[in-house]
Symmetry: C2
Subunit: 162 residues, 2 copies
Protein backbone atom coordinates (compact mmCIF):
# COMPACT_ATOMS: atom_id res chain seq x y z
CA UNK A 1 0.00 0.00 0.00
CA UNK A 2 1.00 3.58 -0.63
CA UNK A 3 2.83 5.23 2.24
CA UNK A 4 2.09 8.74 3.39
CA UNK A 5 5.36 10.02 2.04
CA UNK A 6 4.98 8.20 -1.25
CA UNK A 7 1.73 10.10 -1.69
CA UNK A 8 3.57 13.37 -1.15
CA UNK A 9 6.15 12.37 -3.73
CA UNK A 10 3.47 11.65 -6.30
CA UNK A 11 1.77 14.96 -5.58
CA UNK A 12 5.05 16.65 -6.36
CA UNK A 13 5.50 14.67 -9.55
CA UNK A 14 8.61 12.81 -8.48
CA UNK A 15 9.56 9.77 -10.49
CA UNK A 16 8.69 6.84 -8.27
CA UNK A 17 11.38 4.21 -8.46
CA UNK A 18 11.39 1.10 -6.34
CA UNK A 19 14.14 2.53 -4.18
CA UNK A 20 12.30 5.75 -3.49
CA UNK A 21 9.18 3.85 -2.62
CA UNK A 22 11.11 1.83 -0.06
CA UNK A 23 12.78 4.86 1.49
CA UNK A 24 9.41 6.61 1.57
CA UNK A 25 7.87 3.67 3.39
CA UNK A 26 10.71 3.43 5.90
CA UNK A 27 10.39 7.11 6.65
CA UNK A 28 6.62 6.98 6.90
CA UNK A 29 6.91 4.18 9.43
CA UNK A 30 9.71 5.79 11.44
CA UNK A 31 8.64 7.37 14.69
CA UNK A 32 12.17 8.44 15.47
CA UNK A 33 15.08 10.38 13.99
CA UNK A 34 17.18 7.90 12.03
CA UNK A 35 20.45 8.77 10.38
CA UNK A 36 21.33 7.67 6.87
CA UNK A 37 22.98 4.45 7.93
CA UNK A 38 19.95 3.47 9.94
CA UNK A 39 17.66 4.31 7.02
CA UNK A 40 19.87 2.24 4.79
CA UNK A 41 19.68 -0.65 7.22
CA UNK A 42 15.90 -0.49 7.40
CA UNK A 43 15.52 -0.05 3.66
CA UNK A 44 17.83 -2.97 2.93
CA UNK A 45 15.64 -5.17 5.07
CA UNK A 46 12.74 -4.46 2.72
CA UNK A 47 14.68 -4.52 -0.53
CA UNK A 48 18.30 -5.41 -1.19
CA UNK A 49 18.42 -3.41 -4.41
CA UNK A 50 19.40 -0.23 -2.65
CA UNK A 51 22.77 1.37 -2.26
CA UNK A 52 23.64 3.83 0.45
CA UNK A 53 24.39 6.44 -2.20
CA UNK A 54 20.77 6.27 -3.25
CA UNK A 55 19.61 6.73 0.30
CA UNK A 56 21.76 9.85 0.53
CA UNK A 57 20.36 11.15 -2.74
CA UNK A 58 16.79 10.37 -1.80
CA UNK A 59 17.02 11.95 1.59
CA UNK A 60 18.47 15.07 0.03
CA UNK A 61 15.73 15.17 -2.58
CA UNK A 62 13.01 14.74 0.02
CA UNK A 63 14.53 17.48 2.09
CA UNK A 64 14.57 19.84 -0.88
CA UNK A 65 10.92 18.99 -1.44
CA UNK A 66 10.06 19.84 2.12
CA UNK A 67 9.03 16.26 2.82
CA UNK A 68 11.81 15.67 5.26
CA UNK A 69 13.68 17.71 7.81
CA UNK A 70 17.31 17.31 8.57
CA UNK A 71 18.40 17.50 12.19
CA UNK A 72 21.81 17.79 13.68
CA UNK A 73 21.97 16.49 17.21
CA UNK A 74 25.74 16.49 17.19
CA UNK A 75 27.96 13.53 16.60
CA UNK A 76 28.60 14.27 12.97
CA UNK A 77 25.74 12.43 11.30
CA UNK A 78 22.63 14.12 10.01
CA UNK A 79 19.33 12.71 11.19
CA UNK A 80 15.98 12.94 9.51
CA UNK A 81 12.33 13.12 10.35
CA UNK A 82 9.25 13.59 8.20
CA UNK A 83 8.02 17.16 8.20
CA UNK A 84 5.29 17.47 10.80
CA UNK A 85 2.41 19.85 11.20
CA UNK A 86 3.72 22.36 13.68
CA UNK A 87 7.20 23.27 14.81
CA UNK A 88 8.58 21.28 17.68
CA UNK A 89 11.91 20.86 19.42
CA UNK A 90 14.00 18.13 20.90
CA UNK A 91 15.25 17.22 24.31
CA UNK A 92 18.05 14.69 24.21
CA UNK A 93 18.57 12.52 27.25
CA UNK A 94 22.31 12.66 27.78
CA UNK A 95 22.37 9.30 29.53
CA UNK A 96 20.48 7.25 27.00
CA UNK A 97 20.52 9.32 23.82
CA UNK A 98 16.75 9.11 23.64
CA UNK A 99 15.04 12.01 21.93
CA UNK A 100 11.91 13.56 23.36
CA UNK A 101 9.93 15.95 21.24
CA UNK A 102 8.15 18.92 22.70
CA UNK A 103 6.57 22.13 21.60
CA UNK A 104 6.08 25.41 23.31
CA UNK A 105 4.28 28.34 21.75
CA UNK A 106 5.50 30.66 24.48
CA UNK A 107 9.04 29.95 23.43
CA UNK A 108 8.36 30.82 19.80
CA UNK A 109 6.88 34.10 20.81
CA UNK A 110 9.83 34.88 22.99
CA UNK A 111 12.22 34.14 20.13
CA UNK A 112 10.29 36.42 17.83
CA UNK A 113 10.42 39.13 20.46
CA UNK A 114 14.15 38.76 20.96
CA UNK A 115 14.84 38.90 17.26
CA UNK A 116 12.57 41.89 16.86
CA UNK A 117 14.46 43.71 19.59
CA UNK A 118 17.62 43.20 17.56
CA UNK A 119 15.90 44.30 14.37
CA UNK A 120 15.36 40.91 12.78
CA UNK A 121 12.60 38.58 11.65
CA UNK A 122 13.12 34.95 12.56
CA UNK A 123 13.61 32.84 9.46
CA UNK A 124 14.24 29.64 11.35
CA UNK A 125 15.71 28.54 14.58
CA UNK A 126 17.47 25.71 16.20
CA UNK A 127 16.80 24.63 19.72
CA UNK A 128 17.95 21.52 21.46
CA UNK A 129 17.94 20.76 25.12
CA UNK A 130 20.33 18.22 26.54
CA UNK A 131 19.06 16.97 29.84
CA UNK A 132 19.31 14.38 32.55
CA UNK A 133 16.38 12.62 34.18
CA UNK A 134 15.52 14.01 37.57
CA UNK A 135 15.31 12.41 40.97
CA UNK A 136 17.35 9.37 40.14
CA UNK A 137 20.73 8.39 41.53
CA UNK A 138 22.99 10.65 39.55
CA UNK A 139 26.04 9.02 38.04
CA UNK A 140 29.39 10.56 38.93
CA UNK A 141 29.88 13.75 37.01
CA UNK A 142 31.89 13.21 33.85
CA UNK A 143 32.57 16.71 32.71
CA UNK A 144 34.91 15.88 29.92
CA UNK A 145 32.37 13.80 28.06
CA UNK A 146 30.95 15.54 25.06
CA UNK A 147 27.33 14.74 25.67
CA UNK A 148 26.60 14.93 21.98
CA UNK A 149 28.79 12.00 21.14
CA UNK A 150 26.65 9.18 22.38
CA UNK A 151 23.42 10.15 20.71
CA UNK A 152 21.71 7.12 19.27
CA UNK A 153 19.78 7.21 16.03
CA UNK A 154 16.97 4.96 17.20
CA UNK A 155 14.13 5.64 19.61
CA UNK A 156 12.07 8.65 20.35
CA UNK A 157 9.55 9.53 22.96
CA UNK A 158 7.00 12.16 22.20
CA UNK A 159 5.86 14.47 24.94
CA UNK A 160 3.94 17.71 24.95
CA UNK A 161 5.03 20.55 27.14
CA UNK A 162 1.77 22.40 27.25
Amino acid sequence: MESRIERLCIERGLKMTGQRRVVARVLSDAGDHPDVEELYRRASALDQHISIATVYRTVRLFEEQGILERRDFGGGRARYEPTEDGPHYHLIDVETGKVIEFQDPEHEQLMRAIAARLGFDVVSLRLELFGRRRGQPQPIRDDNARHEAQTDSRDTIKGASR
Copy 2:
Protein backbone atom coordinates in the same frame (compact mmCIF):
# COMPACT_ATOMS: atom_id res chain seq x y z
CA MET B 1 52.86 40.75 26.12
CA GLU B 2 50.93 37.94 27.66
CA SER B 3 47.46 37.43 26.23
CA ARG B 4 44.43 36.76 28.37
CA ILE B 5 44.22 33.19 27.20
CA GLU B 6 47.92 32.57 27.62
CA ARG B 7 47.46 33.51 31.24
CA LEU B 8 44.72 30.92 31.57
CA CYS B 9 46.98 28.31 30.03
CA ILE B 10 49.75 29.05 32.50
CA GLU B 11 47.30 28.89 35.40
CA ARG B 12 46.39 25.42 34.23
CA GLY B 13 50.01 24.40 33.91
CA LEU B 14 49.99 23.85 30.16
CA LYS B 15 53.30 23.69 28.42
CA MET B 16 53.64 26.99 26.59
CA THR B 17 55.11 26.46 23.18
CA GLY B 18 55.48 29.18 20.61
CA GLN B 19 52.56 27.78 18.65
CA ARG B 20 50.23 27.73 21.62
CA ARG B 21 51.22 31.25 22.50
CA VAL B 22 50.30 32.38 19.01
CA VAL B 23 46.97 30.59 18.97
CA ALA B 24 46.22 31.97 22.41
CA ARG B 25 46.94 35.49 21.21
CA VAL B 26 44.82 35.09 18.08
CA LEU B 27 41.92 33.84 20.17
CA SER B 28 42.31 36.55 22.76
CA ASP B 29 42.15 39.16 20.04
CA ALA B 30 39.24 37.59 18.17
CA GLY B 31 35.90 39.26 18.72
CA ASP B 32 34.17 36.80 16.46
CA HIS B 33 33.68 33.07 15.96
CA PRO B 34 36.45 31.89 13.68
CA ASP B 35 36.73 28.36 12.35
CA VAL B 36 39.98 26.42 12.34
CA GLU B 37 41.01 27.55 8.89
CA GLU B 38 40.53 31.15 9.85
CA LEU B 39 42.50 30.64 13.06
CA TYR B 40 45.23 29.01 11.05
CA ARG B 41 45.27 31.95 8.66
CA ARG B 42 45.51 34.49 11.47
CA ALA B 43 48.10 32.45 13.34
CA SER B 44 50.22 32.01 10.23
CA ALA B 45 50.32 35.75 9.82
CA LEU B 46 52.02 36.01 13.19
CA ASP B 47 54.26 32.99 12.89
CA GLN B 48 54.83 30.69 9.95
CA HIS B 49 55.98 27.80 12.14
CA ILE B 50 52.48 26.54 12.64
CA SER B 51 50.73 23.68 10.96
CA ILE B 52 46.98 23.33 10.75
CA ALA B 53 47.21 20.05 12.64
CA THR B 54 48.60 21.95 15.60
CA VAL B 55 45.75 24.43 15.42
CA TYR B 56 43.32 21.54 15.55
CA ARG B 57 45.15 20.02 18.49
CA THR B 58 45.41 23.31 20.35
CA VAL B 59 41.80 24.20 19.87
CA ARG B 60 40.78 20.79 21.15
CA LEU B 61 43.06 21.14 24.16
CA PHE B 62 41.73 24.58 24.99
CA GLU B 63 38.20 23.31 24.70
CA GLU B 64 38.92 20.46 27.09
CA GLN B 65 40.38 23.01 29.49
CA GLY B 66 37.24 25.11 29.33
CA ILE B 67 39.14 27.99 27.80
CA LEU B 68 37.31 27.78 24.51
CA GLU B 69 33.82 26.89 23.41
CA ARG B 70 33.03 25.10 20.23
CA ARG B 71 30.02 26.25 18.22
CA ASP B 72 28.25 24.68 15.33
CA PHE B 73 26.42 27.19 13.18
CA GLY B 74 25.93 24.69 10.38
CA GLY B 75 28.00 24.47 7.28
CA GLY B 76 30.16 21.63 8.51
CA ARG B 77 32.99 23.50 10.21
CA ALA B 78 33.26 23.98 13.94
CA ARG B 79 33.73 27.53 15.15
CA TYR B 80 35.29 28.72 18.36
CA GLU B 81 35.01 31.50 20.85
CA PRO B 82 36.74 32.15 24.16
CA THR B 83 34.59 31.14 27.12
CA GLU B 84 32.76 34.20 28.34
CA ASP B 85 31.25 35.11 31.66
CA GLY B 86 27.61 34.29 31.24
CA PRO B 87 25.72 32.13 28.76
CA HIS B 88 24.66 33.82 25.57
CA TYR B 89 23.20 32.79 22.25
CA HIS B 90 23.61 33.62 18.61
CA LEU B 91 21.49 35.16 15.92
CA ILE B 92 22.86 34.56 12.46
CA ASP B 93 21.92 37.02 9.74
CA VAL B 94 20.97 34.77 6.85
CA GLU B 95 21.82 37.42 4.28
CA THR B 96 25.29 38.30 5.46
CA GLY B 97 26.33 35.47 7.75
CA LYS B 98 27.06 37.96 10.51
CA VAL B 99 26.68 36.65 14.02
CA ILE B 100 24.99 38.71 16.69
CA GLU B 101 25.26 37.62 20.29
CA PHE B 102 22.47 38.08 22.74
CA GLN B 103 21.42 36.86 26.12
CA ASP B 104 18.06 36.44 27.71
CA PRO B 105 17.56 35.25 31.26
CA GLU B 106 13.87 34.77 30.67
CA HIS B 107 14.69 32.23 28.03
CA GLU B 108 16.88 30.20 30.32
CA GLN B 109 14.17 30.04 32.90
CA LEU B 110 11.66 28.93 30.33
CA MET B 111 13.98 26.17 29.16
CA ARG B 112 14.42 24.95 32.68
CA ALA B 113 10.67 24.94 33.14
CA ILE B 114 10.08 23.00 29.95
CA ALA B 115 12.65 20.39 30.86
CA ALA B 116 11.27 20.12 34.37
CA ARG B 117 7.80 19.49 32.98
CA LEU B 118 9.25 16.55 31.07
CA GLY B 119 11.12 15.31 34.12
CA PHE B 120 14.59 16.51 33.23
CA ASP B 121 17.30 18.85 34.40
CA VAL B 122 18.95 20.88 31.68
CA VAL B 123 22.57 19.89 31.25
CA SER B 124 23.18 22.20 28.33
CA LEU B 125 21.32 23.60 25.43
CA ARG B 126 21.76 24.81 21.96
CA LEU B 127 19.91 27.78 20.59
CA GLU B 128 20.49 29.59 17.37
CA LEU B 129 18.24 32.04 15.62
CA PHE B 130 18.51 32.55 11.90
CA GLY B 131 17.01 35.86 10.95
CA ARG B 132 16.65 38.51 8.32
CA ARG B 133 16.95 42.24 8.89
CA ARG B 134 13.61 43.97 9.10
CA GLY B 135 12.15 46.81 7.13
CA GLN B 136 14.53 46.59 4.22
CA PRO B 137 13.82 45.70 0.60
CA GLN B 138 13.54 41.94 0.84
CA PRO B 139 15.36 39.97 -1.82
CA ILE B 140 13.31 37.50 -3.82
CA ARG B 141 12.57 34.42 -1.73
CA ASP B 142 15.04 31.64 -2.38
CA ASP B 143 13.46 28.77 -0.57
CA ASN B 144 15.86 26.13 -1.69
CA ALA B 145 18.85 27.83 -0.19
CA ARG B 146 20.07 26.19 2.97
CA HIS B 147 20.56 29.26 5.02
CA GLU B 148 23.27 27.57 6.99
CA ALA B 149 25.52 27.21 4.02
CA GLN B 150 26.67 30.76 3.62
CA THR B 151 27.67 31.39 7.17
CA ASP B 152 30.93 33.26 7.27
CA SER B 153 33.56 32.70 9.93
CA ARG B 154 34.52 36.32 10.32
CA ASP B 155 32.64 39.20 11.93
CA THR B 156 30.42 39.44 14.90
CA ILE B 157 28.22 42.09 16.35
CA LYS B 158 27.40 41.98 20.01
CA GLY B 159 24.00 43.08 21.19
CA ALA B 160 22.10 42.65 24.40
CA SER B 161 18.45 41.75 24.37
CA ARG B 162 17.58 42.98 27.81
